[in-house]
């Protein structure tokens, strides 16, 4: 069929367009030249070792992982009770709660970063690390509301009611019945808030500074002064992190479910 040919061509070209740039990064990370070149002349792993000589990148990676982890954990801690109350607590005007809880998604990331910089660092003199945790928390919180909310909606409320009738307290019912049933949604919410925080650039730029280095800022600083395969190498490391995250998402919720 004629239309299938057209579709095949557009589809193939588009997929190549998406894949090729990433493949070039991988190839250039093994080049022996002192700047990024293609085709590469020799093959070396040295640029990966060179990352280890960049204390900013190493400490940046550590703090980025730590701060994203803390922020996502806070998101769950604050988000799960709120979602439970909204969907199972029988409280009114849940639409208003939802709007407030999802409000960070309606704000540009640059504005979130700038407003927190003004509100927390300049006005309240909060330390940078705490402000950054807050910023990352805001990026992840809507995922908790959406994903855990969806998980709770899919769970049959009768299961919990059965537990109450059998003499379970509301609290015990929550921990014994509700939590185990929505644990994959919770895991997904955690992974999504984590990767969104970890990858966030504008919020990080506003809320980190000298003495408090994050991975994105250290890479951007390095890029300003160098154009060598170290950047390709660290990019490959970041792609490996993405791969790991995708495997986790696939494990907890199945990648196909994302598109239903």
């Amino acid at each position: 069929m004629h239309s299938h040919k057209v579709l095949n061509v557009i589809g193939t070209v588009a997929i190549l367009f998406l894949v090729f740039p990433l493949i070039f990064i991988i190839i250039t990370s093994f080049g022996t030249g002192s700047t990024i070149e293609f085709p590469i002349k020799g093959f070396t792993f040295n640029w990966y070792l060179h990352i280890l000589d960049q204390p900013d990148m190493i400490s940046g990676l550590e703090t980025s992982l730590l701060v994203s982890f803390i922020a996502s954990a806070f998101g769950l801690l604050i988000g799960i009770p709120a979602v439970y109350a909204m969907f199972r607590g029988g409280i009114h005007h849940t639409a208003w709660f939802q709007m407030l809880f999802l409000s960070p998604t309606f704000l540009p990331e640059v504005v979130i970063g700038f407003s927190l910089y003004q509100g927390l660092i300049i006005t309240l003199h909060w330390p940078m690390m705490i402000s950054l945790i807050v910023g990352y928390f805001l990026l992840g919180f809507p995922f908790v509301i959406r994903l855990v909310g969806a998980g709770l909606n899919m769970m049959d409320p009768h299961m919990e009611e059965a537990a109450w009738i059998s003499g379970c307290s509301r609290l015990k019912g929550f921990f014994k019945i509700v939590l185990p049933n929505i644990k994959s949604s919770i895991a997904a919410a955690f992974i999504f808030s984590f990767i969104n925080s970890f990858n966030s650039i504008p919020v990080t730029l506003f809320l980190s500074g000298p003495g408090f280095n994050m991975l994105p800022t250290s890479i951007l600083n390095y890029m300003q002064e160098n154009y060598d395969p170290t950047i390709s190498a660290i990019s490959v490391i970041l792609m490996l992190i993405t791969t790991l995250i995708m495997m986790l998402i696939n494990h907890f919720m199945g990648l196909n479910r994302l598109l239903k």
Partner: protein
Amino acid sequence: MKKRMILLTFPGILALLLFVVFPMVQIIIPTLSGQGSFGSLYLNFLKDTYNQRIILRTLWISLLTTIIVLIIGVPLSLWIARMHHRIKKILILVILFPMLTNQIVLNFAWIILLGKNGIINHVLLSIHLISRPLSLLYNNTSIVIGSVYLFIPIMVVSLLGSLSHLNIEVEEAATVLGAHPSTTFFKIILPQISTDILTGVIWVFSWTMTSYTTPQLLGGNDDLVMSTLIYQQAMTVQNWTLASVISIVLIIISVGCILIIRSLIKLLDRRVAHA
């Protein structure tokens, strides 16, 4: 019971009041009074031709990106949706991968490709199509290319769900009745996914408009967009009031654009329905 339940939402409400509402109010208040009358800061900002150029550039880049993403994304989604199950799964992985990857990586790829010593120039030089390297990087075009690259997956993700559920027999019926494939595409497939296209368009447009990393890394120093202007005013110039003004203008323009896109599509939809 209900009262105790509402307590569970308090940490969340408190957090968002303190971390979203308070900082936003904090940046809005100084922009309202400023020197002179109410709103004068906004008028001054909008009157300046330099700022007008930045606003128009931002809108133009977003519009162009959205149109290109639409042209590539819709057929791509349809193609993936019609694939055999196993290949489809691999293609979905390819689509999701950039969405979960740090934007520095995605933009850096285009620095490698488009740079003066980049791969594209290298290839063009070696086949003697050009005699001097072209400056492909650090202009509006490179921002659009980078943004298209970033946002094609968003469009695909918003379309793939409903495209996979389309009833293929309707298209077969159209073909049997003698419809040209393009007629089938525009009259049968598109109307069925118009709401998802609208969602995709709104996402791509507003995210391009507010995205910071791509214009920062792929745009030139003279090609600021609104988000990079906010950062420059806030952190380099330290003119916080102006940065606040631009932030508010950015939010208002992007919300306004979303409303316009929505009503435009509704208008089109009605015409399709009446046709």
